[in-house]
Amino acid sequence: MEEILVVQDLTKSFIIHNLAKHIEALHDISLNLKGGEFVGITGKSGSGKSTVFKCIYRTYVPRNGQIWYNSQKYGFVNLAELSERQMIYLRKHEIGYVSQFLNIMPRTTARELVKQAVLEMGSGEDYANIEAQRMLEHFELDKELWDCYPGTFSGGEKLRLNIARAMVKRPRLLLLDEPTASLDHASKLKVRELIEQLKREGTTMMGIFHDLEFMENLCTRVYTMHDGRLQDFQI
C-alpha cells in the first residue's frame, strides 16, 4: 500500500510570552502510515501524544518539520504549510479527529450535530438525515436523547456522539485521541467493532490508547512516546 501520512522531524514548542517560558513538547518525531493501517500510540500523560495529533490536524502550528499527507484532492501536501482554506477542505472531507472532549455547539441537538457533519461535505438533506440516524443507532444512543442538547449528556454518551460525528464522514484518515477513555466495557466493544468495520473499509487510522488490551489484535503497529520522543514498541 502506498503511504498516506509521512511525518518527518516534527518539532513543536510552546512559547508563553507572559510567563517568558519556552516549553519543548515534541522532538524530531518521524513516523509513517500506509493506507489501511491502524497505528496506536501509547505513553504517559504529558508525553506529547495529543500534541502530535493536533499538529497533524493543524490545531497546533508545528515549529519545525514536515507532515506529508497524500490527499485525494491535492495529492501529496505538507500539512504544516498548507493554506488554511485547503486545510478546512481536508478537515471537512478527508481527515477526521475525535478529541477527548466533545466540542459542544450550543443549542444544537445530537441529531443535528451528526447531520451537520454530513451536510458539511455537501450531501443532501435526506442523505444526511439517514446517515445521522444510522450512526446514532449504531452507537445505541437512547432514542430519547437524539433530539436533546448534548450539554446534558453523561460522559459516555458525549463521547459516543463525538465518535459518531467523526466517523459518519467516513474520513480517509481518522485520528482518535483516547476514544475509549471514559467508556464502559460494552461501549468500548461498540467502538472496537466500528473501528474494525472502518478498517475493513480501508480507513487509515491512528489512535491514542492507554488500554493495551484494547489495542491488541487491532493495531498493525504501536509506538510509544516518552518526553516528546517517539519509540518503537511491540506488544
Partner: protein, 281 residues
C-alpha cells in the same frame, strides 16, 4: 483552482490614517509610533497594511481590543469611510479584477446595494427608527432599483419572516422593538438583495445572553441555508469560536495573527493573542 479556493473578497494592504503624518511617522513601519498614534504630530494610524481573503461560504472572524481598528476596517470596506490607500477586489464585481476603492461613487453605491450587506452594532446606523420595519427593507430594495410595490411587499415579508419577526408587527417602527429584534430587522435589511457577502460589526454586543443566542442562531442558519460569506467582528471570543472558520487578530491597526479558529484559540502565537485567550472565561 476551484470555487472552494477562489476568494469572494480579497483585501490588499488597506491603510487608513487620520492626519497628515510627519517626518517621524510617515512611511515608518511602526517605529516611532505609540501604539498606533504618532506622539509628534498626533496622526492616528487606524489600519496599517491589512490584507486578507474571504472565501465562498466562509465565516471570517476578526477579534481585537477596542481601538484596534476592526470597525474602521469594516467601515472602509462598506465605503462608509474612504481608505487612505489599499485595494479590494470583489469576485462578483467585474470578475474581481477591479479595485473597488478606485470606482466612482455611483459604482460604490451599486456594490453596497447589491453585493454587500452590513449589520452595525448600533441599529440606528442602518435603520430609520420612525419608518415601519418593512419600509426599512423596501428602502434598500428601492435603492437597488426595485419599483414594484407588490413585489417589494412580498420580499419584505419573506425576509422579516426569515428573521422571525411576526407578521403582525411588520408595519411597526423599529423604535418600538427590543434590541434583539432591531438587530434581526437589520439582518433582514442587509440580506434584502441577496448579497454574496455580509459584514457583521459587533452584532451581539450589548444584548442579553438569550437574545444574543437567538441572533447567533439566526446568523448560523442564514449562513447554512444561503451559503453567504461573512466577516464577523467581535471582541467576544465565544462568538468567534461558535461561528468563524478562520480568525484574524488585530492589534493597534495591524493584523498580528491569523489562522484556523481552533488554532488561534488553542495555540496562539503572539503575546497579545495569548493574553486574550487566557482572559476567556
Amino acid at each position: 483552482m476551484d470555487d472552494f479556493e477562489r476568494p469572494v473578497l480579497a483585501v490588499r494592504n488597506i491603510n487608513k490614517q487620520y492626519g497628515q503624518g510627519c517626518v517621524n511617522c510617515r512611511g515608518s513601519k511602526g517605529e516611532g509610533l505609540l501604539k498606533n498614534y504618532c506622539p509628534v504630530c498626533g496622526t492616528v494610524y487606524a489600519c496599517r497594511d491589512i490584507s486578507f481573503e474571504v472565501y465562498a461560504g466562509e465565516i471570517l472572524g476578526i477579534v481585537g481590543e477596542s481601538g484596534s481598528g476592526k470597525s474602521t476596517m469594516m467601515e472602509c470596506l462598506y465605503f462608509d469611510q474612504e481608505v487612505s490607500s489599499g485595494e479590494a477586489y470583489i469576485t462578483a464585481y467585474k470578475g474581481g479584477k477591479t479595485n473597488v476603492f478606485k470606482e466612482s461613487s455611483q459604482q460604490k453605491r451599486y456594490i453596497r446595494n447589491h453585493l454587500m450587506g452590513k449589520v452595525y452594532q448600533n441599529p440606528l446606523m442602518s435603520l430609520k427608527m420612525n419608518f415601519s420595519s418593512i419600509g426599512n427593507i423596501a428602502e434598500k430594495l428601492i435603492s437597488a432599483g426595485n419599483r414594484n410595490v407588490g413585489q417589494m411587499k412580498v420580499r419584505g415579508e419573506e425576509l422579516l419572516e426569515h428573521v422571525n419577526i411576526p407578521v403582525y408587527r411588520m408595519k411597526e417602527a423599529p423604535k418600538n422593538f427590543s434590541g434583539g429584534m432591531q438587530q434581526r430587522v437589520q439582518i433582514a435589511k442587509a440580506l434584502s438583495n441577496n448579497p454574496p457577502l455580509l459584514l457583521l460589526d459587533e452584532v451581539t454586543t450589548g444584548l442579553d445572553l438569550s437574545v444574543q443566542a437567538s441572533v447567533l442562531d439566526l446568523i448560523k442558519s442564514i449562513q447554512r441555508q444561503l451559503k453567504i460569506s461573512m466577516i464577523i467582528v467581535s471582541h467576544d471570543l465565544g462568538v468567534i469560536r461558535m461561528l468563524a472558520d478562520r480568525t484574524l487578530v488585530m492589534l493597534d491597526g495591524q493584523v498580528i495573527e491569523q489562522g484556523l479558529t481552533d488554532q488561534i484559540l488553542e495555540d496562539p502565537q503572539h503575546g497579545y493573542t495569548q493574553r486574550l485567550v487566557q482572559s476567556l472565561l
